[in-house]
C-alpha cells in the first residue's frame, strides 16, 4: 500500500523509492529531512509504548484475540468490501453507456453515503435486537429511521439526477 511505488515517472526507468534513498531525494529540504527523522523516531516510540501498555494491561491470553480482530478487519476490508466496491463501480461504469457522467457520479455518491450509514446502523440494529437491559440505551425506532433515511436519500438522488439530466439535455440542444 505504499504510495511511494506509484509516484509519477516519465520514462520506463523505475523511480527511486524515497524510503530507500532519503538523502538523494530532491523533494526534501534539510528542514524536512530533520522533520522526517523526528517523525519516524516519535512514531517508533509511540508504537513501542503502545505495545508495552498493551502487554502491561491486557492479560496475555487476550492478546491473540486482538491480533485476530486486526487480521480479520484487514481481510474483511481488502477481500470483501473493496472487491464489492470495485464491482459496483464497474456496473455503474457500464451503465454510463446510457446516462451522463454527472448523473453517474451523483448515483455513485449516494450509494456510498448510504452504504457508510448502513455500516454504522446495522450493528446498532443488532445491538438493539439483543437488548441492553437499559431502556435509555438505544431508545429510538432505528429501523424506521433507517427506512426513512434511505427513502430521503433516494428522493434527493432522483431529484438531483433529474435536474442534471434536464440541464444536460438543454445544453445539447
Amino acid at each position: 500500500m505504499s504510495t511511494a511505488s506509484v509516484t509519477p515517472q516519465t520514462g520506463t526507468a523505475p523511480q527511486p523509492n524515497p524510503l530507500e534513498t532519503p538523502r538523494e531525494n530532491p523533494a526534501l529540504t534539510p528542514a524536512l529531512r530533520v522533520t522526517r527523522v523526528v517523525l519516524i523516531a516519535l512514531g517508533l516510540a509511540g508504537l513501542a509504548w503502545g505495545a508495552y501498555v498493551l502487554l502491561d494491561t491486557v492479560k496475555p491470553a487476550r492478546i491473540p484475540g486482538i491480533a485476530l480482530w486486526m487480521g480479520a478487519a484487514i481481510v474483511l476490508h481488502d477481500a470483501v468490501i473493496s472487491p464489492l466496491v470495485f464491482f459496483c463501480g464497474i456496473l455503474l461504469r457500464r451503465a454510463g453507456d446510457r446516462t451522463s457522467g454527472t448523473v453517474i457520479l451523483v448515483v455513485q455518491g449516494a450509494l456510498v453515503v448510504g452504504s457508510i450509514m448502513t455500516l454504522i446502523v446495522v450493528p446498532l440494529l443488532i445491538a438493539q435486537s439483543r437488548g441492553t437491559g437499559n431502556p435509555t440505551v438505544l431508545p429510538l425506532d432505528y429501523g424506521v429511521n433507517f427506512a426513512v433515511f434511505w427513502g430521503v436519500l433516494a428522493v434527493i438522488t432522483a431529484a438531483a439526477s433529474f435536474g442534471l439530466y434536464a440541464r444536460g439535455r438543454k445544453r445539447l440542444r
Partner: protein
C-alpha cells in the same frame, strides 16, 4: 515464468483499479483530514483517560462546566467521522496493495508491515469504539485497556507513516504552491501504463494485456464509454486546464480498447476532456466524502449537540429520554444496589482522620442546599444538561475539618465494578458547583440516578459522578 505471470496479474489488478481519484494528491488531502480526526480522538481520549486515572500531581480544569461534554463529544463525533474518512483513504491507496514486486527491500517490507498494522489497528479501534457506545461488546478482549493501547499504536503509526511519506506529501504541497491549481494529474495508472509495455510482458502475452477471463473482463470494462462531461466546453479553457501533456487516463479510457464517446476526437480536445473528466471524478469523490462525513455526524451528534437533537436518528442515546429526562448509564439492577439504596437505615458517612460523621437523607436535606445546572457527560459521548440540588461537598468536607488540599475517596453502594470506589481531586472537592445531589430537575433523585445521594461535579466523566453514595473520605495530603 511464474514470477512473470504473478507480476502481470498484480499489474493488471493495479490497472483495473486505477482511477482518477487514486493519486498521491488525493491520498494526501484525505490523509490530512483523517490524521486530524485521529489526533482529535487521541487528544480527547487521553484527556478522558487521565481524568479517570490521573498521574501523581495531575490537576484538571473545572471550568468551563461543559468541558468534558465538549471533549468527549468531540471524541465520538471525530470518531464517527473516521468511518468515511478511513474508508476513503483506503479506497485511494488500495491499488498499492498489489505493488510489484510485493517486497522491494527490507525497509520496504518494514514499511508495508507498519501500514498493515496501522490499517488493522485503525479499523479495530473505530469498530470497538462505535460498538462500545451501543453497549455491545462482542470481542474477546477488554475494551478500555485495548482501546487505550491501540490509541498509542495508532498515533505512533500515524507519525511514522507521515515521516515515511513526507517526500510525497512535500511534493504535493510544492505542486500546489507552484501552479496554484492544486490538480495533480499524475495518476497511479500512468505508472502502471508505462510498466505495461515491458518487453517481457509483450513477448509473453503477445500484447500488454492478458488473455482469458481477466483479459475479457478488462476489455469489457474498457469498452465502456468514458464519463461524458457536460461541462467540457467551459472547463477546457478554464483556469485549471491541464498544464502538461501527461494527460491522465481513467481505466475506462486507457489501453487498446476503443476510446469512444463524444470526446474521442483529435488529440488536444481529447486531452482536455480527459482532464476535465478526471477533475469531475475527483470533485465527485471529494463531495461524496464530504457529504458522507456530514451525514454520519449530523444524524448522530444530536446525543450531545443540543441544536442537532431533532436530527438525531442513529445515536445510541436521545436527549431527554430517561428517568426525570436524563439518560442512565448503569441501572440500579445492573449495579445490584436497589435493596441497599432503598433501605430505611441508609446513611452517608463522611470521614477524615478517624473522625466519622453520618448523615441520613433527612439530615442532608436539613443542611444548606445549593442548586446548580450541570451536564451529565458520559464517556460514551452523550450528555444531558440538568438541574441538581443538594449539599456542597466542600461544606461536608469542612464539617470533618478536611484539609483544603485533600483528595476524597468516594464509595458507592455498588458491590462490584471498576467505579465502585473512585478518587476526586481537591480541585473538584473545593469547587462551589460540586454537590452531593439529592434532587434532580425539581424532584427527589430517582433510584436510577443514584438515590439516596450522588455526586455531581463540573467537567468530570459520568462514570466518576458516583451514584448511590455510601461513604466519602478525605485522603492524606
Amino acid at each position: 515464468m511464474v514470477q512473470l505471470i504473478m507480476r502481470q496479474v498484480m499489474y493488471e489488478a493495479q490497472r483495473a483499479l486505477a482511477s482518477p481519484v487514486r493519486n498521491p494528491r488525493m491520498a494526501t488531502v484525505i490523509g490530512r483530514l483523517l490524521g486530524l480526526a485521529f489526533v482529535l480522538c487521541f487528544g480527547t481520549g487521553l484527556y478522558s483517560h487521565f481524568l479517570q486515572e490521573p498521574l501523581p500531581g495531575m490537576h484538571f480544569a473545572t471550568r468551563p462546566e461543559l468541558l468534558y461534554q465538549f471533549t468527549q463529544g468531540t471524541h465520538i463525533v471525530a470518531g464517527i467521522a473516521c468511518f468515511p474518512l478511513l474508508l476513503a483513504k483506503l479506497y485511494i491507496v488500495f491499488p498499492d496493495l498489489f505493488q510489484q514486486p510485493p517486497v522491494k527491500s527490507f525497509l520496504n517490507f518494514l514499511e508495508r508491515a507498519s501500514i498493515a498494522l496501522f490499517v488493522g489497528a485503525s479499523l479495530v479501534q473505530i469498530t470497538i469504539g462505535l460498538l462500545n457506545t451501543y453497549q455491545w461488546y462482542p470481542w474477546p478482549f477488554p475494551f478500555r485497556e485495548t482501546h487505550f493501547a491501540l490509541g498509542w499504536v495508532l498515533i505512533g503509526s500515524l507519525a511514522l507513516h507521515i515521516g515515511i511519506k513526507l517526500p510525497i506529501i512535500a511534493r504535493v504541497w510544492r505542486k500546489n504552491a507552484d501552479d496554484g491549481s492544486g490538480d495533480d494529474d499524475h495518476l497511479t495508472d500512468a505508472v502502471a501504463h508505462d510498466r505495461a509495455a515491458t518487453p517481457e510482458a509483450v513477448r509473453l502475452f503477445g500484447s500488454s494485456r492478458p488473455t482469458g477471463v481477466t483479459g475479457r473482463l478488462l476489455a469489457w470494462i474498457d469498452a465502456t464509454p468514458a464519463l461524458r462531461v457536460e461541462r467540457s466546453r467551459s472547463s477546457a479553457s478554464g483556469p485549471d486546464a491541464p498544464d502538461s501533456g501527461a494527460a491522465p487516463q481513467t481505466a475506462a479510457g486507457t489501453g487498446s480498447g476503443p476510446a469512444s464517446g463524444p470526446t474521442a476526437d483529435p488529440a488536444a480536445p481529447a486531452r482536455n476532456s480527459a482532464a476535465a473528466r478526471n477533475r469531475l471524478s475527483r470533485r465527485g469523490f471529494l463531495t461524496t466524502v464530504g457529504v458522507s462525513v456530514g451525514t454520519v455526524v449530523v444524524l448522530t451528534a444530536g446525543q450531545t449537540v443540543a441544536p442537532l437533537d431533532s436530527l438525531n436518528a442513529f445515536a445510541p442515546r436521545k436527549k431527554g429520554v430517561g428517568q426525570q429526562g436524563v439518560p442512565v448509564n448503569r441501572t440500579s439492577k445492573q449495579a445490584d444496589v436497589a435493596a441497599d439504596a432503598l433501605a430505611a437505615g441508609w446513611v452517608l458517612t463522611v470521614a477524615h482522620a478517624g473522625v466519622e460523621r453520618s448523615f441520613s437523607r433527612a439530615e442532608l436535606l436539613a443542611l444548606p442546599q445549593t442548586e446548580v445546572e450541570l451536564p451529565i457527560a458520559c464517556v460514551e459521548g452523550w450528555s444531558q444538561l440538568a438541574r441538581w440540588r443538594g449539599v456542597r461537598l466542600r461544606d461536608l468536607a469542612d464539617l470533618v475539618s478536611a484539609d483544603a488540599e485533600a483528595s476524597f475517596r468516594l464509595t458507592s453502594l455498588e458491590k462490584k465494578g471498576g467505579y465502585r470506589q473512585t478518587t476526586m481531586g481537591s480541585e473538584y472537592v473545593r469547587d462551589p458547583l460540586t454537590l452531593v445531589a439529592l434532587e434532580l430537575n425539581g424532584e427527589t433523585l430517582d433510584l436510577e440516578h443514584g438515590y439516596p445521594a450522588r455526586m455531581i461535579a463540573p467537567g468530570r466523566p459520568g462514570v466518576l459522578q458516583t451514584k448511590w453514595l455510601s461513604r466519602i473520605e478525605a485522603m492524606d495530603v
